[in-house]
């Protein structure tokens, strides 16, 4: 087969127009569900965050929040639930509230329980038991 003939066939295939509707119901439903989930954000209180291999109290984490935005963490709530997600709102150092999103797209607004900030060293403990 001649190269020029192949190029012409590929160019012809590449110029085939797609005559679909221009919208996709599944994508639109997915986006609507996420919007709904955003508008019904749950508010939770975080008592600790897993940073690396350490479980750090929320008060200490609040002091370093500018370093933890856009990274994945595990968040432990006051009721003992553990969420894994990524903080998505810009937070300056010392900020005590924000928003995080889990891998399935659920969005949570959180407040950090900063009561234990004073005893930050004592409250830091190793998750791995080291």
């Amino acid at each position: 087969m001649k190269e020029q003939q192949l190029i012409e066939i590929l160019e012809q295939m590449g110029s085939q127009e797609f005559n679909g509707s221009g919208t996709n119901k599944r994508v639109e439903r997915f986006i609507r569900e996420r919007e709904l989930s955003m508008s019904k954000k749950q508010r939770i209180t975080i008592v600790s965050i897993v940073l690396g291999s350490s479980l750090v109290c929320a008060g200490l984490a609040a002091a370093v929040t500018n370093q933890i935005v856009s990274q994945r963490f595990q968040f432990v709530t006051d009721s003992g639930e553990v969420f894994e997600g990524e903080i998505i709102t810009p937070m300056g150092p010392g900020a005590t509230s924000g928003t995080f999103v889990t891998s399935d797209g659920s969005v949570y607004e959180f407040d950090m329980d900063t009561d234990e900030t004073e005893s930050e060293t004592k409250s830091s403990e190793s998750v791995t038991g080291d």
Partner: protein, 199 residues
């Protein structure tokens, strides 16, 4: 955050310092939309409407079936939504990034659903039918190429991306795109002959 300082010089006459806050440095509407889409689904909705047709057309050329192309396009945009927070505006353009996701979706589909080798092009059929059979054969030949050759051929011929943009999407120099394309076309021609050739 400290604003960046830009110094403007005019033929060595004077230096002027202008502080431009980083948040207003970019006036690329799409870049701003992408940043918003990281936290706002409706902004992602706008991006989806901007790119849906092009991505679905690419997938249609890859799989040759409209409803399958639409399904794969939905998978592509849902995957893009889930990972948009990791997307960095510098580097690979957003559209090339979407094509890469679509390319992966189509390749995975082909791997999972091994295509039948199409019947040889028969004599005496209408021109449309003949062209359809020929395209099916070329598509099967493309899918039998190695991943590297397949990505070059489909991104160059089945998308409106130019050589530079394909290079950005694949993270290689544009010279490499040209040399790989030439090699991929030879491999494709061989595969087409092996599958029965086209008239």
């Amino acid at each position: 955050m400290e604003p960046k300082t830009h110094q403007l010089t005019s033929s060595g006459v004077s230096l002027v310092s202008i502080n431009i806050p980083s948040e207003v440095q970019s006036h690329d509407p799409e870049a701003e939309l992408i940043e918003r889409a990281k936290a706002e689904p409706d902004a992602f909705g706008t991006l989806y409407r901007m790119h849906y047709q092009a991505i679905t057309a690419y997938l249609y050329r890859r799989v040759g079936d409209q409803s399958l192309a639409e399904d794969l396009a939905a998978d592509t945009f849902i995957a893009a939504f889930r990972s948009i927070r990791k997307y960095q505006c510098r580097g690979v353009p957003f559209r090339s990034w979407l094509y890469r996701i679509a390319w992966n979706k189509a390749s995975r589909w082909h791997t999972k659903h091994k295509r039948r080798i199409p019947a040889p092009i028969s004599q005496g059929v209408t021109q449309d039918k003949c062209q359809q059979q020929r395209n099916e054969l070329v598509r099967a030949a493309i899918e039998s190429l190695c991943e590297r050759d397949k990505s070059i051929v489909t991104l160059v011929y089945f998308t409106p991306l130019n050589t530079e943009q394909v290079a950005e999407a694949l993270g290689v120099p544009s010279g490499t795109v040209k040399s790989r394309l030439s090699r991929a076309r030879k491999a494709l021609a061989t595969q087409i002959e092996r599958l029965g050739g086209v008239s």
